[in-house]
């Protein structure tokens, strides 16, 4: 059930737009444009009617799994239900049609929302100030590292160019470090799946700018030695960076700021229920403690009496990091969510998220190998190594799950678990769904034993069967071309 490309639905001369006649006098383009720059050949965009555009994208939409279609326990991504009221609020004319350069007097509603959201997030994370500018988690990391670099630089501490990253860290952590001009040094995990303190101690020195840590880490485990870790890094003059991708486990339970972190980013598109959009837009606000406040990106939002305004006049700022002020409409959604839930609701979110994960872990750990058999936080990581021995890879298990109408967990991440299956159910799933998923997983474990070909041949009930990823990379076809 593949569907034609929009280009293949095109017919020369067909139109899909409704534009008013030009009401000012027509002139020749070449009168108004420089010679040699009048477009010679129109872009090869499709020519389609409105109705066929709608059909095309409707059909495509139906070929997607999504949170609204079913269970989506993609570890580390917090695929929770995205409340519909969030969508409506973000689309209010007074927000959606607001130009970013209207004088501040005319955008007080927007500024107040941003100001308050910054303060809520600061309170939630235990930090002193927050900037909403970063538009994704990785962008937050980048900004956070810039802040850290600026901090060290401001103290004349110029040799701090190393970023420590646990081997379980998400790929964006080392990539962001590199992009900030830092050197990455990996820190090992210990046999509890946590940062190995000895290894950490052996790697800290006066070149360390920061340790980036996800807590709970990507194994879904809380770093119990967080105080020691913080001490080790701080004593060496480094700072502690909190990758907030896993904050869904800790709302109202423990605040990164209280556990020693100096810089935090949050993924509003994870913890705060803004939709993932098929890969974005997200929002990755950064929070800092006092010593880093002077370096925050411009503009900051300040309140003078009852008036809100942007402040660009920050001598130590790292500068600008986004064309305007971050993903405002995404932030409206997160604001809506926080105001809907309040403190009690958010705490309940984390409690339920953690309970769901532990319940599912309990159901699955007999049939799948679990490296760290202990209470997990909002997610846990199984290993498919039992099944591998039977000739079934984690990828096969993932594909087979598709036949049950659920999205597979994150696979092969974190890298330190062999044949990893990283499962994050989130709090918005009911027990029945978890039971259904567990049954499917157990059936697959059984199939792996009794009929491995069934698993390796999966999926069977999807719009397309298994796709050749190797071929795609070997001979990249990255765009459509008109047949001549």
């Amino acid at each position: 059930m593949t569907t034609p490309l929009i280009f293949e639905r095109s017919m020369p001369g067909r139109i899909g737009f409704s534009l008013a006649e030009c009401d000012v006098p027509r002139k020749e383009l070449k009168e108004l444009l420089p010679e040699g720059q009048v477009r010679s050949q129109p872009p090869g965009w499709p020519e389609v009617s409105e109705g066929s555009v709608i059909r095309h994208y409707l059909k495509l939409s139906q070929m997607n799994h999504s949170v609204d279609s079913g269970f989506y326990p993609l570890g580390s991504c917090t695929m929770k239900y995205n409340p519909k009221i969030n969508e409506d609020m973000a689309r209010l004319g007074g927000f959606a049609k607001l130009h970013p350069l209207v004088p501040e007097t005319y955008s007080q509603g927007a500024l107040k929302m941003m100001y308050d959201l910054e303060h809520y997030l600061a309170e939630i994370t235990g930090m002193d100030a927050v900037s909403l500018q970063p538009v994704a988690g990785a962008h937050g990391e980048f900004v956070g590292l810039k802040l850290i670099a600026a901090y060290h630089r401001s103290r004349g501490d110029d040799k701090r160019t190393t970023v420590l990253v646990p081997d379980s860290a998400h790929g964006t952590n080392p990539a962001s470090a590199a992009l900030s001009g830092m050197k990455v040094v990996e820190v090992d995990s210990n046999c509890d799946g946590e940062v190995c303190l000895d290894d950490l101690r052996s790697k800290v020195d006066d070149t360390v700018a920061a340790l980036m840590l996800t807590n709970p880490n990507t194994l879904g485990l809380f770093e119990r030695n967080i105080c020691e870790i913080a001490d080790i890094v701080h004593e060496a003059g480094g700072l502690l960076y909190y990758d907030g991708a896993n904050a869904n486990a800790i709302l109202g339970i423990v605040r990164p700021g209280d556990t020693g972190f100096d810089v935090v980013h949050l993924n509003l598109h994870k913890t705060f229920s803004t939709p993932h959009g098929g890969g974005g837009p997200g929002s990755g606000p950064v929070g800092v403690n006092k010593k880093l406040v002077p370096f925050l990106p411009v503009p900051r939002i300040v309140k003078d009496k009852e008036q809100y305004r942007f402040d660009y006049d920050l001598p130590e700022t790292i500068g600008k990091v986004h064309s305007f002020y971050g993903n405002f409409a995404v932030n409206v959604r997160a604001y809506t969510y926080i105001r809907m839930l309040g403190a009690k609701g958010l705490k309940r979110v984390s409690e339920d998220a953690v309970l769901n994960a532990n319940y599912l872990q309990a159901l699955l750990k007999k049939d799948y190998h679990l490296d760290y058999d202990r209470l997990c936080m909002h997610e846990f990581v199984l290993s498919g190594k039992k099944q591998k021995a039977q000739g079934v890879r984690t990828l096969d298990i993932a594909k087979r799950l598709l036949d049950f109408g659920v999205h597979p967990p994150t696979v092969y991440f974190p890298l330190i678990i062999e044949e990893a299956l990283m499962i994050e159910p989130t709090e918005t799933e009911g027990k029945e769904t978890l039971d259904y998923f567990a049954d499917a997983m157990l059936q697959i474990a059984k199939e792996a034993k009794e009929d491995p070909d069934k698993v390796t041949g999966a999926p069977y009930n999807t719009p397309v069967s298994r796709l050749d990823e190797v071929g795609a990379a070997r001979n990249p076809i990255l765009r459509w071309h008109k047949e001549e």
Binding site: Y57, L98, D258, P281, E427
Partner: protein, 448 residues
């Protein structure tokens, strides 16, 4: 307090706890050292029920002025977005999915990306594109990184006529890297190709130009392209996608990397975000492109399908050696733009672009007919132009709002020496009547 989002009942919670071998929810958190746990409730305002929350946000939204006639630009424009776009964006199979890691159940998103890549390549005159970048400014950063890595040179030359905020974002990004950002001064609001020639050497990694530039002027891309064609340095052009309905594709004028802000293609204003960074590169830079890229392949039955490809460029595989750290991008905005491009087609885009140009021309003529108002820079422009006013722009802007117009941007916000200058954008949305009314009001404000 959001219980309607949390399906488990107290009964179920008890059952589940029991299955884990616990009695109380608190026990789930025993790995968290007691001393660290949050003692007091988070200090947040009390929760609101949906209806109350909705009226609260309606009230906030109503404190923003979106009614005044909009002549604002500076990177965000009030272009027409057909109603059909939002109807597709609200398909929750699109907006509640994530990055298409499992292609067999993500063909929708993947095909959208593949089509988006094709349309961007066609628009920009390049061959390879990606699933989107954060915005125009960070797309420029990514282009700089490509240039640094490809050329292994270190000088990044940026035209002064490039959006000053883009330049600031770039400066932030290059700080700490082995790179120097240099600004190429402008003449009459544009980069002088001859002067540039003197500046080139083999340490130059990239020359970056925006066209139409911050002042709305069309840069001399053919000359720049020619000059740079012999150079190792990459020629990076930041383009307004709407302008490409009538302006030659930069890829056809020698650009190696074309980036830009796609907001005008159906994404909306949204107080400046989310936006849509796009990028097109020549074939030889294929493996340098940042972010997600969709490629065509076949399934086990030989049917055409799409997957994320060239993943060895990316952070989740290559980690610190990745071409970029980007992970979540602006996929849904890319979908909006794809729908826009599909609906508009080549004819529609050309018409939109033409109307922008003609209406800007009409407005410029009327506005400069006012005594004391002059064009700041001569030269060809597209939909935006800068004016010299006899008085500070800020006060004119303020008075014009009172008359119902966002007449333009006080350029003093960007250049301290331009406080008497006004940047005016005119899109296809502005009617003759509105332009004339604005001219009349401006006359009154400036006359007074």
């Amino acid at each position: 307090m959001g219980k309607h989002y949390l399906p488990n009942t107290d009964e179920q919670r008890r059952e589940m706890l029991a299955a884990v071998g616990l009695e109380k929810v608190e026990e789930l958190f025993k790995d968290i050292p007691q001393g660290l746990r949050q003692k007091d409730e988070t200090k947040l305002p009390p929760p609101m029920a949906e209806a109350v929350l909705s009226s609260h946000l309606n009230k906030l939204a109503s404190k923003n002025n979106v009614a005044a006639v909009n002549f604002l630009g500076g990177g965000i424009y009030d272009h027409f977005a057909p109603a059909a776009i939002n109807h597709i964006l609200t398909r929750s199979e699109f907006y509640t999915a994530y990055t298409p890691y499992q292609p067999e159940v993500s063909q929708g998103t993947l095909q959208v990306i593949f089509e988006f890549q094709t349309m961007i390549a066609e628009l920009t005159g390049t061959n390879v594109s990606n699933a989107s970048l954060y915005d125009g400014a960070t797309a420029l950063n990514e282009a700089a990184i490509i240039a640094l890595n490809t050329t292994r040179a270190s000088r990044i030359l940026v035209a002064e006529s490039m959006h000053p905020w883009y330049r600031q974002v770039l400066a932030t990004a290059l700080e700490g890297l082995d790179a120097q950002l240099e600004v190429l001064p402008m003449e009459e609001g544009r980069l002088n190709a001859d002067k540039l020639a003197d500046n080139l050497d083999k340490d130059v990694a990239a020359v970056m130009v925006q066209s139409p530039n911050f002042f709305g002027l069309v840069e001399d891309l053919p000359a720049l392209g020619k000059l740079l064609s012999e150079q190792k340095a990459l020629f990076v052009v930041s383009a307004d996608p709407i302008s490409l309905g009538i302006l030659e594709a930069p890829g056809n004028l020698g650009a190696d990397v074309v980036i830009g802000e796609g907001q005008g293609m159906g994404v909306g204003q949204n107080y400046g975000g989310p936006l849509l960074g796009f990028m097109g590169v020549t074939d030889k830079l294929t493996r340098r492109i940042p972010g997600r890229v969709a490629g065509q392949t076949t399934d086990s039955k030989g049917r055409r399908g799409y997957v994320l490809t060239l993943q060895t460029r990316e952070q989740h595989i290559r980690r610190e050696k990745a071409t970029s750290n980007i992970c979540s991008n602006q996929a849904l905005c890319a979908l909006a733009a794809s729908v826009y491009m599909s609906l508009m087609g080549p004819q529609g885009l050309k018409e939109v672009a033409t109307q922008c140009l003609l209406k800007a021309d009409y407005a410029r003529e009327l506005f400069t007919g006012i005594k004391g108002v002059e064009v700041l820079y001569s030269g060809h422009y597209f939909k935006e132009f800068a004016l010299k006013l006899p008085v500070p722009a800020a006060s004119v802007v303020e008075k014009m709002v009172e008359k119902g117009f966002f007449i333009g941007i006080d350029m003093g916000r960007f250049y301290p020496d331009m406080e008497n200058n006004l940047l005016v954008a005119v899109t296809e949305q502005r009617t003759k009547e509105e332009i004339e009314a604005a001219a009349k009001a401006l006359q009154e404000v400036i006359g007074a």
